[in-house]
């Protein structure tokens, strides 16, 4: 599918960048004029994926998180969040609601459940010792105000 526009940013895995990544998503998506609800869904899903990379992927180690946002044809938003952290041993288990490896940090174990529920498609690729890539897609509704 053709890409109409895209942006790639890379930032260190420090928690202030959770907020920064949400702001980047909001800023980049102004061009497709999403509804308040659509934007909130995407911001929440991105926040979950970036937080996962920071809290679980890199734990106490350092590294970068890559965020790529694409606007595809038919108002579909594609988002890829990639880290080169510790990776996930058992993706199926990690995606179970309420499963967390960081209960002491009060992680609810709902990150993937939120991504799944708020986006149309979620794909997770991971290799222990190499990192994790999360790809999400969401099709936005038709916008009457959009200029042709």
């Amino acid at each position: 599918m053709n890409t109409r526009n895209q942006i790639k940013i890379s930032f260190p895995a420090i928690s202030i960048n959770e907020r920064v990544s949400r702001a980047v998503v909001s800023a980049f998506l102004v061009q497709v004029d999403p509804t308040v609800e659509e934007l909130a869904d995407i911001r929440t899903a991105v926040s979950e994926a970036v937080t996962n990379s920071i809290v679980h992927g890199y734990r106490k180690s350092e590294g970068n998180v890559d965020l790529q946002i694409k606007i595809l044809e038919n108002r579909e938003v594609y988002i890829r969040i990639k880290d080169r952290g510790c990776g996930i041993e058992d993706i199926k288990k990690a995606m179970e609601p309420l499963y967390t490896t960081a209960p002491e940090e009060e992680r609810a174990g709902l990150g993937f459940a939120v991504m799944q529920s708020f986006m149309d498609k979620l794909h997770v690729r991971s290799k222990v010792g190499e990192g994790t890539t999360v790809i999400m897609r969401k099709k936005l509704g038709d916008n009457q105000c959009q200029t042709k």
């Binding site: 929440t44 009060e106 609810a108």
Partner: protein, 105 residues
């Protein structure tokens, strides 16, 4: 993210303001827990009216405060969450441990 905490007749009230994520959760946790320890209230009311964003870190925050309140046999109420934040709450099933209420102010 800011939090204003005060005691009222109905219990201990924490008014949250801004965006709740993993980055600010620890600070909120410490502030609310200290107030719980000092006041040992029967009811903790978490006021979400002015919260503009929350991901699942907020669910962890509510669950953690529920545990704190349990040690004093107290309850937690979630007050006035905006629509989108309510969706994250519904998804998590948090209502099983903390009632969500909407009141007019």
């Amino acid at each position: 993210m800011a939090v204003k905490i005060y005691t009222a007749q109905e219990g201990l009230i924490a008014v949250l303001d801004g965006e709740i994520d993993h980055h600010c959760a620890q600070d909120l946790r410490e502030k609310i827990d200290q107030a719980i320890m000092e006041n040992q209230p029967e009811l903790l009311i978490l006021d979400f009216q002015q919260v503009t964003f929350m991901d699942s870190s907020g669910i962890g925050l509510i669950m953690g405060r529920y545990k704190q309140m349990c040690t004093y046999s107290g309850n937690v109420i979630i007050r006035n969450p905006p629509l989108h934040i309510k969706r994250v709450m519904k998804l998590s099933g948090i209502e099983r441990i903390a009632k969500i209420e909407t009141i007019k102010i």
